[in-house]
């Protein structure tokens, strides 16, 4: 069997960032995932904020990685064609107790090297955000807190890695690691065995299970659920910046954030669960989000919600980001505890891992033909009328709207199905193009997308899936023969 230099388990933000970073070097890189698409688990259900690290625990690896990562996003997102916006955040205090915490939070930010956090008076904050609870006494302004399209971000990392020669294997669940003496030399998966000089565990919530296969699980991980509401773009009560609550010991609390495509995000909760497959929302959890965010912005209209979702943070005990290599186990790098800021940290984790591999002896020779540029699917709505006309002349399917809420055309959907990492499910198309993410939630385009997927992939309608295997919206044909 052929042996690759590096094999990465997990194609979430962290795994894909590592794959892309390593594809800059003269290495054979493979990344694999159990899912049908890249995008990860936590990486597709989070607050989509690129944090500054102002509130990290100073001196920790998390603090270093997050603080280092934030400034990288301007260039990275330009180069990878990822929607990203530096909208800034405010941290308002509404009572004496909260107000008294502000200097400590600012001091902590300073210790983390986030020097641009500033105090603002209540009046200033109300001028910045008129919908804010008028009882605001003052607060902090954190100018570099930013928002990103997390789906496109991970797809872009993965595509760019693949363009540069990395190999992606999907629907390959790692069942065990292959050991030879004091070294890990490969993985056993549902798609067979793969050998590699280095195996990297970037499996997020499952980092404990993989580490146990390596005999290195000296920690526990449980899922900490976060539930969210997404509100319609046209909801009348909106904010321009991220509005953060004063954090408690347990979490950053429930925030209100504009989303990169104009919606509003409310959440998340922080609930410790034991079942790692539980992606449910709960009535109580959602009610607590509604109650808490109303303290920040009283007029927020929960009734304008178009959808709700939940995500699972890998809560490591003991807590903290850990990136480990071992004296007594060659060929294995373990990442664990990437909990609440991993979307942000991912890009820095990629660099940190590359550096670590170099230090432990992997030959890291930069390639001279690495192409850092990845072009996304050009959205018809973003083009000028002249550009649109040219596209339609070349291919008329760019003139046919399929998703009316987000104005996605058939041409764009076909492009996603034929892209470097082909979209092969309804959700894969949704994440790349937003088709079905708007206010009708796929009621209109869903049936059409099923037909396009079936046609393009040469499947029968009942073989088209929403997300994972078994999520087939069509169970059979109504009539066996259709006479035309």
């Amino acid at each position: 069997m052929k042996r690759t230099s590096v094999l990465i388990i997990g194609a979430g933000a962290v795994g894909c960032a590592i794959a892309r970073e390593l594809s800059k070097y003269d290495l054979e890189v493979t990344f694999l995932d159990k899912n049908t698409d890249v995008g990860g688990d936590a990486s597709k259900s989070n607050s989509s904020i690129i944090h500054t690290g102002y509130d990290a625990s100073p001196g920790t690896l998390e603090s270093r990685l997050v603080v280092a990562a934030n400034p990288m996003y301007d260039r990275l997102c330009k180069s990878l064609d990822v929607p990203f916006q530096r909208i800034g955040a405010i941290l308002p205090a509404f009572n004496e107790e909260q107000f008294e915490q502000l200097p400590f939070i600012k001091e902590k930010a300073f210790q983390n090297g986030v020097y641009d956090v500033e105090y603002r008076s209540g009046e200033d904050l109300l001028n910045m955000e008129p919908m804010l609870n008028p009882r605001v006494m003052g607060g902090l302004f954190i100018p570099r807190e930013s928002i990103i399209d997390p789906f496109v971000y991970v797809v872009a990392l993965a595509e760019n890695a693949v363009q540069n020669g990395a190999k992606l294997i999907l629907e390959a669940k790692v069942l065990d690691l292959i050991r030879e003496g004091d070294a890990i030399v490969g993985v056993k998966t549902t798609k067979g065995e793969f050998l590699a000089n280095w195996i990297i565990n970037a499996s997020g919530l499952y980092c404990e299970e993989i580490a146990r296969m390596a005999g290195k699980a000296d920690y526990k991980v449980n899922p900490r659920r976060g539930q969210f509401y997404i509100l319609d773009r046209d909801t009348p009560c909106k904010v321009k910046r991220i509005v953060l609550p004063i954090p408690t010991k347990r979490t950053k609390g429930k925030l209100i954030s504009p989303m990169i495509h104009g919606n509003l995000l409310l959440g998340p909760t922080a609930e410790d669960l034991s079942d790692k497959t539980n992606h449910d929302t709960s009535t109580e959890g959602l009610a607590s989000v509604a109650a808490d965010v109303r303290r920040l912005v009283p007029d927020i209209r929960i009734g304008d919600t178009i959808t709700q979702f939940s995500g699972l943070r890998p809560n490591r005990v003991p807590a903290g980001f850990n990136i480990d290599v071992y004296d007594d186990l060659a060929g294995y790098l373990n990442i664990s505890g990437v909990r609440s800021t991993g979307l942000t940290a991912s890009i820095a984790i990629g660099k940190y891992v590359a550096h670590t591999l170099g230090q432990v002896g992997l030959e890291m020779r930069l390639r001279d033909d690495f192409n850092p540029v990845r072009k996304g699917i050009q959205r018809m709505v973003d083009l000028s009328p002249g550009q649109r006309a040219r596209k339609i002349t070349e291919d008329p399917s760019y003139g046919r709207i399929i998703c009316r809420c987000e104005s996605v055309t058939e041409g764009e959907i076909i492009e996603a199905i034929r892209s470097p990492i082909p979209a092969r499910s309804i959700d894969a198309i949704k994440r790349r193009l937003r088709a079905g993410m708007g206010r009708c939630q796929g009621g209109f385009c869903g049936p059409k997308v099923i037909q396009i997927l079936a046609r393009e992939l040469g499947l029968t309608d009942d073989a088209v899936i929403k997300s994972d295997p078994g999520s087939n919206p069509v169970v059979r044909a109504t009539r066996k023969e259709v006479s035309q």
């Binding site: 997404i230 046209d234 497959t277 992606h279 449910d280 929302t281 709960s282 009535t283 959890g285 959602l286 919600t305 178009i306 959808t307 709700q308 979702f309 018809m380 009328p385 002249g386 649109r388 006309a389 339609i392 002349t393 008329p396 399917s397 760019y398 003139g399 046919r400 709207i401 009316r404 809420c405 104005s407 055309t409 206010r439 009708c440 939630q441 796929g442 009621g443 209109f444 869903g446 049936p447 099923i450 037909q451 309608d461 009942d462 899936i465 929403k466 997300s467 994972d468 295997p469 078994g470 999520s471 087939n472 919206p473 069509v474 169970v475 059979r476 044909a477 109504t478 009539r479 259709v482």
Partner: protein
Amino acid sequence: MIEYTCDVAVIGAGPAGLAAASSAREAGAEKVWLIERDCEPGGILQQCIHPGFGLAYFDEELTGPEYAARFYDKAVDLGVQFSFDTTVLAIEKGNILRCLSPRGESLINAKSIVLAMGCRERTRGNLIIAGSRPAGVITAGAAQRMINIQNQMIGNKVLILGSGDIGMIMARRLRLEGVEVVGVVEILPYLSGLTRNKLQCLDDFDIPLLLSHTVTRVEGYPRVEAVYVAAVDEKNDPVLASEERIECDTLLLSVGLIPENELSRNAGIELDAVTGGPVVDSDLQTSVPGIFCCGNVLHVNDLVDHVSVESELAGENAALYALGKLPSDSKLIPVQAGHMVRYVCPSVIRQRSGKSTLYFRVTKPAKHVDLQISDGTKIVWMKSHLRVNPGEMEAVCIPTADLVGPEITINVLPQ
């Protein structure tokens, strides 16, 4: 970019748009242009293959496609121009339509416009139903399209939430396809659709209807395995002690329609908070001069026959406007929703020699009531009803010439 001009442009070739386009031609508009994003005419009626259409308009019972075909044929005969496979992206200043189709992008400069875009369905997200997010949760209209047009079955064991007409019609449709329908669950203490649909679609097939209940949670992944159903209290909050797990692989949602007014909103047209449709006068003209509106985009209709009549008026007035013949100086009399009335459409009467039709819905079901219209000084119209129902729209046609009061109010009063 290709630019065109026309007298009347109609957006949407459902029953509303088809009727409006024909009547615009009949009222003298030279060039009437109908733009439809689908490849076929008929709108939602294409997928309504059941009978029950046309009883009022044609005095015959037709299927949806048959009903639509009559209006389409008429429009073709009258020389209405059609652009199919064409989506209106925006209504720009000066009543210009920006359109996109596989043939390219175009601008249509219209003297007047009729909005007939229909409606969309409320979703699981709007209702905030907790639980997992599997395949098998689907809105009734989407399911109807998949089953009746795309030849795709959506499940094997279905629970329906919402006793609206579409939900009940789908219950029967699924049963006829050999699918198990566990029941129809309705949060209100009464049916939200037409009584005749309960008789023909549920009772005839022994499909149970569970009033004052709702779905609290969805279970299962990657496909629905069960839903939880609970009784609700007076405030419509679920009583968790009564929660019961019902096995099924599909949750079909028939929980309301929302007029599709993205184009209208972006064009600056004033919308009504209750109906979700544009605010119109009795000419069916919106707050933007020269833009008229009819059908489900104006307010959600249960009977297509009403839609056709209303849309003919919109088309006629759009034609008169284009020809410069629509009087704009008539006295305006506001119309109010009074006791037990949820909304009235139109919300303003333009006083002329003819008659005006007022469409309205009651807030709750009642028996033995008087429908009463007063103009502030006297009762101008009254009729007794054995029963009224929010699911059944009322239509009243009154002469407007001798209305004197400052405003008109519709009341529904117990006898």
